[in-house]
C-alpha cells in the first residue's frame, strides 16, 4: 500500500497557519488575554476574601463553578469520542475533522478540572484529594476517570500527530528542534505505519468506554445524593447524551472558525457540516427523549419534594432558564437541522451556538433548582451569580480558546497524512470494502472476522 511521502504539494494550505504570521492572530491573542486577566482578577479577589464574593449562599452551595465543571467535561466529549466512533465506523469523511475534535477534548478537560478547584473553599488543600482521598466519594471517581480520560485522550491526540510533526520537521524550517523531538524519529517506514495504525486501532476502542465512564461519574456526583431532582438512575446516560450533544456543537463551532480563519474551505466542506448536522440532529432528538422521560416520570410520580423542584423549573424562579434551554436545545436546532436546505455552514453555526448555550443552561437547571429547594423548609434560597463567577466563566473560555489557537499555530489542525492517505488509498479501500459487502462480487474472499480494529490494521498492511 502506498504511503504518503510526497512533499506537501496541494496540502500547503494546512501548514500555512504554522509558517505565516497573521495580524489577526495577535489581535485574537490580545482579546483572549484580556479575558484571562479578568478571570485572574476575579479569582484573586475570591482567594483573598473567600467564596463569599460569589453569589453562593446557604443552601445554594453549588453554582456556576460546578455548572462549568459539568459543561466543560461535557464539551470534552466532542473530540475523542466522536473521532473514535468515526474512525471505528471507518467513515471516510472523518479525515479532515478528527484532529480538531481531539484537540478540543484535551484542552477543554483542563478547564473542567480547574473549575472544581475554583469551587473549593480551600484550594491550597486540593492535593488532599490525592493524599487523603476516599474512594467512597463520587468526587474521587471523577478524579480517577478524568485522569484516565485525559491521559488516553492526550495519547490519542499525539499518536496521529507524529507523521504530521515529521512532515513539519522535514519540509519546513520553523521550530525544527521542537518538531525533531516530538516526531520521535518518525521516518514513515511501512513498519512504523503499521505500528501507528495498530496503536490507534487499540486506543479508539479503549477510549470509548472511558469517555462514557467520565460523564457517567460526573452525573453520579449528583445522582448519588438523595436530593430531589438529582437522585435519578437516568442521570448517567442522560449526562453522556448531553455531553456528546454539546460536544458536537462545540466541534462544529470550532470547525467553522478554523475554516474561516485559515481558509480551509477545501478541507472542511459543506458536506462535512451536513453530515455533522445529521449527527447533531440525532443527538437533539436523543437529548429530548431523555429530558422528556426524566420530567414526565417526576411529574407523574408527583412526590411533593420532587415537584417543588420540578415546578420551580417549569413555571417558577427558573422558568426563564428552563424555557430558554428548551428553545436552545430542542426548538432551534431541530428546526434548523431537520431540513437539508438549512444544514448549511451558516445555519449550522446558529444551531451549534444555540446548543452550546442551551446545554450550559441545562446544567444550570440541573444544579441550581435542586440546591435552592432542599427537603427541609429551613432555608429555601436564591442564587444570583456575581461578576466574579461570570468573569471566571469568561476567563475559562478565553484560556481554552487561546490554547486551541496556539495549537493551530504549532501543529496542523487538519491531519495532513490522513488526508494524503485518503487521497491515495481511500477510493480503492472503499471500493474494496463495498465489493466485499455485495453478493457475487469479485472480492468475495471473506475478510478476517468482524473485528473492526484488527481488520483495519490488516487492511492497512495489505
Amino acid at each position: 500500500m502506498p504511503r504518503p511521502t510526497d512533499p506537501l504539494g496541494p496540502d500547503m494550505a494546512l501548514v500555512k497557519p504554522i509558517l505565516a504570521s497573521d495580524p489577526r492572530f495577535w489581535i485574537a491573542v490580545g482579546v483572549l488575554c484580556a479575558g484571562i486577566l479578568l478571570g485572574a482578577v476575579a479569582y484573586t479577589t475570591q482567594l483573598r476574601k473567600g467564596l463569599g464574593v460569589t453569589g453562593l449562599n446557604r443552601p445554594a452551595y453549588w453554582g456556576i463553578y460546578i455548572i462549568n465543571f459539568v459543561f466543560f467535561i461535557g464539551i470534552s466529549h466532542a473530540g475523542t469520542l466522536i473521532s473514535a466512533i468515526l474512525r471505528l465506523a471507518r467513515a471516510e469523511w472523518r479525515r479532515a475533522i478528527t484532529r480538531s475534535a481531539e484537540v478540543i477534548t484535551v484542552m477543554v478537560i483542563l478547564f473542567g478540572v480547574i473549575s472544581v478547584i475554583f469551587d473549593l473553599g480551600r484550594p491550597d488543600r486540593a492535593a488532599f484529594i490525592v493524599t487523603h482521598g476516599r474512594l467512597q466519594s463520587p468526587l474521587l471517581w471523577d478524579v480517577c476517570s478524568i485522569t484516565v480520560y485525559f491521559t488516553v485522550s492526550s495519547i490519542y491526540l499525539y499518536l496521529p500527530l507524529i507523521p504530521d510533526i515529521a512532515i513539519l520537521r522535514d519540509q519546513t524550517n520553523r521550530r525544527k528542534w521542537l518538531y525533531r523531538i516530538l516526531a520521535l524519529g518518525w521516518q514513515g517506514t511501512e513498519k512504523q505505519y503499521r505500528w501507528l495504525e495498530r496503536a490507534i486501532g487499540v486506543l479508539m476502542v479503549v477510549v470509548i468506554p472511558i469517555a462514557i465512564s467520565v460523564h457517567t461519574v460526573v452525573s453520579f456526583v449528583f445522582a448519588m445524593t438523595v436530593q430531589p431532582g438529582w437522585h435519578a438512575a437516568i442521570f448517567g446516560p442522560y449526562f453522556v447524551v448531553g455531553a456528546i450533544y454539546s460536544g458536537i456543537a462545540a466541534l462544529i463551532i470550532a470547525m467553522v472558525i478554523i475554516r474561516w480563519a485559515y481558509r480551509l474551505e477545501g478541507y472542511l466542506k459543506e458536506i462535512h457540516f451536513n453530515y455533522l448536522g445529521v449527527l447533531l440532529l440525532v443527538m437533539t432528538l436523543l437529548w429530548f427523549y431523555f429530558t422528556f422521560a426524566e420530567y414526565l416520570t417526576t411529574w407523574y410520580g408527583a412526590e411533593p419534594v420532587q415537584m417543588r423542584v420540578w415546578w420551580s423549573k417549569v413555571s417558577g424562579d427558573f422558568a426563564p432558564q428552563f424555557w430558554t434551554m428548551v428553545a436552545c436545545c430542542l426548538v432551534i436546532p431541530f428546526a434548523i437541522l431537520c431540513r437539508r436546505k438549512t444544514r448549511t455552514v451558516r445555519w449550522m453555526t446558529v444551531a451549534s451556538v444555540a446548543v452550546t448555550i442551551g446545554m450550559w443552561l441545562e446544567r444550570f437547571v440541573i444544579v441550581v433548582p435542586t440546591v435552592v429547594n432542599p427537603r427541609l423548609p429551613i432555608d429555601r434560597g436564591v442564587y444570583h451569580p456575581t461578576w466574579v463567577e461570570w468573569s471566571m466563566l469568561l476567563g475559562c473560555f478565553s484560556f481554552f480558546i487561546l490554547l486551541y489557537l496556539l495549537f493551530t499555530r504549532f501543529f496542523p489542525i487538519v491531519s495532513i497524512w490522513e488526508i494524503q492517505e485518503g487521497r491515495m488509498n481511500g477510493r480503492e479501500e472503499v471500493m474494496e470494502r463495498l465489493d466485499s459487502y455485495l453478493p457475487n462480487s469479485p472480492a468475495a474472499e471473506p475478510l478476517p472476522a468482524a473485528k473492526p480494529a484488527a481488520s483495519q490494521t490488516a487492511e492497512g498492511a495489505s
Binding site: R58, H132, T225
Partner: protein, 262 residues
C-alpha cells in the same frame, strides 16, 4: 430504633456477638460504645432561641448581622424551623429547633472526598475536621437536612466575642464546613474529670450547651444506647418522631409531638 442491632455492634469485645442490648452490662462502662442523642419536646419548647444563643457562645459561632442574613450566609449550628400545617383559618404552626441530626447513617460522610467528616465509633457523633476540609461543599449538598454550614468569609468575630471565646473550641476560618458537634469538647472534659476521679462517666455529666440552656427543659440529652436513660425512654414514646425517617439516615435527634397526650 433498632436497639438490637446497635447493641450487637456496640457490645464490648468479650460479649458474645449479637448479644442483646447492653441492659445487663454495668452502666456507662468505659468499653461500651455510647450513642449520644437528644429528644426535643415540642410541647415544652417556647421557641425562645436560648439554645441558639447558648450554642453561639459555647462554640464560638460568629453572630450574624443584617448583611450576612440578607446574603443568607449566617452560620447557625442550631436553628428554628417554622412548619405551617393546614390552611387558613385552620393553621397550626410548630417551630422545630433543628441541628445536625447526628445520623447513624450520615449521607454527608459517604460523599466527603478527603475524610474530613466522620462518625465516631465510640460516641456516634458526626465530627468535622477543619484542618482536613477542602471546602468542596459536597457534604452540605448531600445532607438532606441542610444543617451543614460553610464559612464564606473569615469569621467576623467582634472583639468582645473573641476575648471571651471558648478556649475549648477551635476558631474556624474561611473556606471550611462546620456543624453541630454535640459539644464534643464537653464530653472530653467530663470524661477527663471522671477519669481523674477514678470513676466512670455518670449520666448527666455530659450535656451540650443548648440542652443546658433550655429554660423549659424541652431538650433532653443522653445515651440512646443505654435503654434505662431518660432520653431512651422518651425516644420510645408514642409522641416521638424523627425528621425524614423514610430516608434511612437514622437521626439521633428525636422530637416529641406537641398537643398529643402520651
Amino acid at each position: 430504633m433498632s436497639d438490637e442491632a446497635r447493641g450487637g455492634k456496640s457490645a464490648a469485645p468479650p460479649a458474645a456477638p449479637g448479644a442483646p442490648r447492653a441492659a445487663e452490662e454495668p452502666k456507662a462502662s468505659a468499653r461500651r460504645h455510647a450513642r449520644w442523642g437528644m429528644v426535643i419536646d415540642l410541647g415544652r419548647c417556647t421557641a425562645c432561641q436560648g439554645c441558639v444563643t447558648a450554642c453561639h457562645q459555647e462554640n464560638n459561632v460568629p453572630p450574624s448581622n443584617p448583611e450576612l442574613a440578607a446574603e443568607r450566609r449566617s452560620i447557625r449550628w442550631i436553628d428554628l424551623m417554622p412548619v405551617m400545617e393546614g390552611e387558613y383559618p385552620h393553621v397550626r404552626l410548630s417551630i422545630l429547633p433543628v441541628t445536625c441530626m447526628q445520623c447513624e447513617k450520615p449521607p454527608c460522610i459517604k460523599v466527603c472526598p478527603v475524610g474530613a467528616t466522620f462518625l465516631s465509633e465510640e460516641e456516634g457523633i458526626v465530627g468535622q475536621v477543619y484542618s482536613r476540609c477542602i471546602g468542596c461543599r459536597y457534604c452540605t449538598n448531600a445532607c438532606p437536612y441542610t444543617v451543614r454550614q460553610f464559612n464564606w468569609f473569615d469569621p467576623n468575630l467582634p472583639a468582645t466575642y473573641r476575648d471571651g471565646a471558648n478556649p475549648d473550641v477551635s476558631l474556624r476560618y474561611k473556606g471550611v464546613v462546620e456543624k453541630c458537634t454535640f459539644c464534643n469538647h464537653r464530653l472530653q472534659k467530663a470524661r477527663d474529670a471522671a477519669a481523674a476521679a477514678g470513676r466512670e462517666l455518670l449520666p448527666g455529666e455530659y450535656t451540650p450547651a443548648c440542652v443546658e440552656a433550655c429554660p423549659t427543659r424541652a431538650m433532653v440529652f443522653g445515651d440512646l444506647a443505654d435503654p434505662e436513660s431518660e432520653v431512651s425512654n422518651l425516644a420510645r414514646s408514642k409522641r416521638a418522631f424523627r425528621l425524614m425517617e423514610d430516608l434511612g439516615t437514622e437521626p439521633k435527634i428525636y422530637y416529641l409531638r406537641e398537643g398529643v397526650r402520651e
